[in-house]
């Protein structure tokens, strides 16, 4: 049995009166990729965003249930969300680099968290960019605007930015859906690489992608988890009709 990186227990999310996520319990193991799939509007993003308390920002959103990270229920009013979010990286559907230089995009977080030494920061920037397979392309223009990078490069930069503050968990919401096939392949490669060190939860609408990169897959429908199992099993031998209908493309 692997370590549990993150565990949701009876998690529900309401927007006003409307339930978007209903009573979801899922364990996400460390050093493994878990894919969340399901038709659009079924609550995947909502679920993912409650894991780092990002839904706190949305007026009217209410998250109930427990989220356990290392023996602590982080879905509690006592939780220091600022501290919590440092431990959980996040990558969005559309690349959202800061309007700063490539270097600053990476160095900004670590510097804020107390690393002032220029040498140390340089090191972190290089490591993070190498980790995100972006170093070779950017090392000669670290101080140019990050917005000048291509979409795929920007997305890798965003991944580098999140790992620079040393999280243990990375949440990704359709990180490749706005990218071309070549960039997508690079992101997938990168995820496979990062898996060795992080607990990764990724939302994807691309069945093949889920099959390629994840070890576990959770199939969401109408806010509930229909099926959760090893990815192989979900794609070769699903237990539910709805799952097999979805992965064979009969709806969604």
């Amino acid at each position: 049995m692997q370590d549990i990186g993150l565990s949701a227990h009876k998690l529900s999310v309401h927007y006003g009166e409307k339930a978007a996520v209903k009573n979801v319990s899922l364990d996400f193991a460390d050093r493994q990729v878990t894919a969340l799939i399901g038709p659009s509007g079924c609550g995947k993003s909502t679920f993912l965003r409650s894991l780092n308390r990002m839904n706190d920002l949305i007026p009217g959103a209410r998250v109930t249930g427990d989220i356990w990270i290392g023996g602590e229920n982080i879905n509690s009013p006592q939780t220091d969300v600022v501290l919590l979010r440092q431990k959980i990286g996040m990558v969005w559907q559309r690349p959202n680099p800061f309007h700063k230089s490539i270097y600053e995009n990476i160095a900004f977080g670590p510097r804020y968290h107390g690393i002032r030494d220029k040498k140390k920061l340089d090191e972190i920037v290089e490591q993070s960019l190498r980790r995100a397979a972006l170093w070779e392309e950017t090392k000669d223009r670290l101080h140019n605007s990050a917005l000048a990078l291509s979409g795929g490069q920007q997305q890798r930069l965003c991944i580098a930015r999140s790992i620079a503050v040393k999280p243990s968990i990375i949440l990704m919401d359709e990180p490749a859906s706005a990218l071309d096939p070549v960039s997508t392949a690079k992101i997938e490669e990168l995820i496979a690489e990062l898996k060795q060190d992080y607990c990764i939860v990724i939302v994807t609408h691309n069945m093949y992608q889920a099959a390629r990169i994840s070890q576990k897959t959770a199939f969401f429908m109408l806010g509930e988890v229909e099926e959760y199992d090893d990815t192989d099993k979900i794609f070769t031998n699903p237990q539910k009709i709805s799952t097999s209908d979805y992965i064979t493309g009969r709806f969604g």
């Binding site: 780092n52 996040m90 800061f98 309007h99 999140s162 503050v165």
Partner: protein
């Protein structure tokens, strides 16, 4: 009538209305500029006015207008930024904030003469600041502040939500995220709005009649000590601004060349306000390009 004809008629109508508006505007501008520009000279812009003789200038008034603008902005910008950030990022949506927003809207649409009278009663008399630049600046703040709050709110609202989330997801505090991630992106919008607001302050007259006053002491432009009574920099002296000056010489000017002076001063005023607008646009575009383009 078929859709095509209707479309043609509607288009023609809209084009005509637009043309009429542009013509009126151009006519107005042209009239003021043509009448006034000939009178503008370096001497006109720098020398003090004359009461009964011809040949007076608008030097002190121009200076007063600019100085008042700076004073107003020194008061408005920090307050407006603070309140705007609070309203957009901290205030919980609800009846309280809706009420504040309503007050802000009402304040910004107050007739300026009413603000002037309010300034006379409260700032000039009750608080005892007298007719002074400072009183004028406070009066202008009354309707400039709401504008500034709205501009700041708009600026922050224009920042993509993912930028804010990216900051928070890195474990930055809310304030740090606002200050270092959101504000830099919002600055072009905020600055453009601020410059436009400044143009409005510059042309204001009614609110200043009873607050900054309708006369200036004989300014001594060699004395830059803000505390001495004849120093141009003294914020507690009365000060007639350019717009007020235009109003005054038009209604009670005794100098034989009063109409020409009024025309020249109007042209200067218009040109300055136009400049503010152009700078605002140019600046907005420049910063936008700088932030989003390749270099």
């Amino acid at each position: 009538m078929n859709a095509k004809t209707a479309d043609k008629i509607a288009t023609a109508l809209i084009v005509t209305i637009a043309a009429i508006i542009i013509l009126i505007l151009a006519g107005l501008l042209g009239y003021i500029l043509i009448r006034g520009v000939g009178h503008i000279s370096f001497d006109f812009l720098t020398s003090p006015p004359e009461t009964i003789r011809a040949g007076g200038g608008i030097g002190p008034q121009l200076f007063n207008s600019l100085f008042l603008l700076v004073l107003t902005m020194i008061i408005t910008i920090p307050l407006g930024l603070g309140a705007g950030i609070y309203m957009s990022e901290y205030a919980k949506p609800g009846r309280g904030t809706d009420f504040i927003r309503l007050v802000v809207e009402v304040l910004s649409s107050f007739p300026s003469i009413v603000v002037g009278l309010f300034g006379l009663l409260v700032i000039v008399n009750l608080f005892g600041f007298g007719f002074s630049l400072f009183s004028g600046a406070l009066a202008l703040t009354v309707f400039n502040l709401p504008l500034m709050v709205r501009i700041t709110e708009q600026g922050l609202k224009s920042v993509p939500r993912e930028q804010k989330e990216a900051g928070l997801a890195l474990g930055l505090s809310k304030w740090k995220t606002i200050r270092s991630i959101m504000l830099p992106i919002a600055i072009p919008v905020i600055l453009t709005g601020t410059i436009l607001a400044a143009g409005r302050v510059f042309g204001e007259a009614a609110a200043l009649l009873f607050t900054a006053g309708m006369s200036s002491p004989r300014l001594d432009f060699s004395d830059w000590n803000p505390l001495s009574p004849f120093s141009p920099l003294n914020p507690f002296r009365p000060a007639e601004t350019l717009a007020v000056h235009i109003w005054k010489i038009n209604s009670e000017g005794l100098a034989p060349d009063a109409p020409e002076i009024a025309a020249g001063a109007s042209a200067v005023l218009i040109i300055t306000v136009l400049l503010f607008n152009m700078i605002a646009r140019w600046f907005g575009r420049y910063v936008h390009r700088k932030f989003t383009a390749t270099k």
